[in-house]
């Protein structure tokens, strides 16, 4: 017997792009539905509320101290990686858990493109969330002060760019983690605490392996911090000598390059992985 051979219908590149655009939008909609986005919204509002309270005490907290604690420490160490973890680690495992991956695997999108598109959508959503968090924080810290329009707002814009680059690193890492570990949330939290929390604060060559190291370097180089705040940051982060730190270009290249390499490796692994959908009759 000979098999019936049929040439698949060609929809061309517009069809492929249409499928990828649909997948991108589907992922964005998945991320913006449900409780996760509400929980994160509340988490992002907490430091804003704290800033407002501290600004309105009888002896108001200075803006630069609040900015250092909330924007340059809490955000890159806690909220930003947590946001990436909650979304990127589940980019495939949530679909497997909810048994909806079948609907994606059976469409005309190559598997590696499927993963990368979902990850790109995840990066967009998490970056938007972090950007909203940054702008709200700056608003809570500096609104009504003389430096708000001329200094704080441009710095907020540049902070958004730095955090967007950080999200490239975090999303790719946590996406990778979500593919290879079953308890990706737990592993991710351990990573955030041990690597981005502890290792990044040790003045040792190993901290160059953390995302936070490059975020801090870019913060020192890009944000035009007031001299006093700049000095405090350098001392706090043990980054006194800017000459010894990587250049801005190197930081950007490393964050984007590592993010790209890890994402491509994850996509190739995803393309080779079987995802068995459990049926009522299966074990």
């Amino acid at each position: 017997m000979t098999a019936v051979e049929v040439s698949p219908l060609r929809r061309g590149s517009s069809g492929a792009l249409s499928a990828l655009a649909a997948l991108f939008m589907l992922t964005v909609r998945q991320h913006t539905h449900g409780r996760r986005v509400l929980v994160l919204g509340v988490l992002y509002l907490l430091p804003c509320v704290l800033a407002l309270i501290l600004r309105n005490l009888a002896r108001p907290a200075p803006g630069d101290a609040l900015e250092l604690a909330l924007v340059f420490v809490l955000l890159p160490h806690g909220l930003a990686p947590l946001t990436a973890l909650l979304y990127a680690a589940g980019v495939v495992s949530d679909e497997v858990e909810e048994q909806t991956l079948t609907y994606l695997l059976l469409r005309s999108v190559p598997r590696w493109q499927l993963y990368l598109t979902k990850l790109l959508a995840t990066w967009c959503v998490t970056t938007t969330l972090v950007a909203c968090g940054v702008m709200t924080l700056y608003l809570a810290i500096y609104a009504g002060t003389p430096e708000f329009w001329n200094e704080a707002l441009p710095r907020a814009g540049r902070t958004v760019v730095v955090m967007a680059l950080a999200q490239v690193g975090y999303c790719s890492l946590f996406g990778f983690l979500g593919l290879f570990t079953r308890r990706s949330l737990l592993a991710g939290i351990v990573y955030i605490v041990a690597i981005e929390g502890v290792l990044a604060n040790i003045n040792f060559v190993g901290r160059a392996l953390t995302v936070v190291y490059y975020v801090r370097t870019l913060t020192l180089r890009w944000l035009d911090l007031p001299p006093e705040e700049l000095r405090t940051c350098k001392v706090t982060w043990s980054m006194d000598d800017l000459e010894k730190l990587p250049s801005s270009g190197e930081c950007v290249l490393i964050l984007l390059g590592v993010g790209l390499v890890v994402s491509v490796l994850s996509a190739l692994s995803f393309a080779r992985t079987e995802f068995r959908m459990k049926t009522p009759g299966s074990d």
Partner: protein, 308 residues
């Protein structure tokens, strides 16, 4: 006839568990029933045929092409999966339209295709409601619509009638017959012979991952009828239903179920009984919610065939 789906020496292992065991099977164009009790390997076979799984051994080809990671082939293939999974927050139409878009259609094409597919499965009236509010029958129809939306040449249906009410069952059988008449090849799995028989006379029998038999359904039908057929009916007024059924000559026994508001009927004439169901479902006060067949009777037949 030339095969549309070809399995050659295919085995699939999940660790120490064998899903399929050295299966060689060539399925021609048309409608073919895939019959076997739970755990027989039907879903594994369908997941292999749709490229979701890779065979541990052997080759799987559909329309002459390798199926693993073959997005071009996916445009020609549709699957109605067994699992009752959706993006629950979507409306039925939105879901089917999204599936159409994922198949590479433009927005207007996808909208038109979703309208058409939802109409085909009788869901036009409810297509703008959220899926989370759908009944089991509506969910099955919507799953079928997403499999049809890109007009595949080969359709895989994994237990499509499970848990549906009699009206949905009849409608879905009509849809599949229509597709077959239009030239679409269909491989439909079930553990209920009667369901398969309503769709095709050509069946493939699987048991514990092995091909037990293939051929005309009539040959195994005689074996089936030696064993009482058990059908579970779920409805609120199941005691009233039992009273009505007790007068039917084709009903051999009725048993009330403890675990749900329903009853199990034993019959040796399943054709007659199933023919009566749509009318029963529409009868005053009965409102059948779910009908399914326990596969114990089929298991007995398989044991017979395996030991023969």
């Amino acid at each position: 006839m030339t095969p549309i789906i070809a399995f050659d020496g295919v085995s699939k292992w999940y660790g120490n568990v064998i899903g399929l065991n050295k299966l060689t099977l060539h399925i021609p164009a048309g409608v073919t029933g895939l019959l076997g009790p739970n755990g027989a390997g039907k879903s594994t076979l369908l997941q292999l045929a749709t490229g979701q799984l890779r065979p541990s051994q052997g080759t799987v080809r559909v329309l002459g092409q390798d199926v693993w990671d073959n997005p071009a082939l996916n445009r020609l293939v549709g699957l109605c999966p067994e699992q009752d999974a959706f993006y629950e927050w979507m409306t039925g139409h939105d879901f089917v339209r999204t599936c159409a878009r994922l198949s590479g259609m433009s927005r207007p094409e996808a909208t038109a295709a979703a309208d058409r597919a939802m109409d085909q499965v009788g869901m036009t009236e409810n297509m703008n409601r959220a899926i989370r509010g759908y009944s089991k029958g509506m969910r099955q129809r919507t799953k079928l619509a997403q499999a049809l939306v890109h007009e595949p040449q080969v359709l895989f249906l994994d237990e499509p009638l499970t848990g549906t009410d009699p009206v949905a069952r009849r409608d879905m059988i009509e849809v599949v017959r229509g597709l077959a008449a239009a030239g679409c090849s269909v491989l439909v799995s079930s553990h209920v012979l009667h369901e398969i028989q309503a769709l095709t006379s050509r069946v493939v029998l699987l048991h514990r991952g092995r091909l037990v038999a293939e051929g005309n359904v009539r040959e195994i039908r005689a074996l089936i009828d030696k064993h009482p057929h058990r059908i579970v009916l779920v409805c609120d007024k199941f005691r009233d239903l039992a009273a009505k059924l007790s007068t039917c000559p084709d009903v051999d026994g009725i048993k009330f179920l403890d675990r749900e508001s329903g009853l199990m009927v034993e019959t040796r004439q399943p054709d007659t009984f199933y023919a009566r169901l749509p009318a029963l479902a529409l009868a005053d006060g009965v409102a059948l919610r779910e009908v399914y067949s326990e596969d114990d009777n089929l298991e007995a037949v398989f044991k017979y065939l395996v030991n023969k």
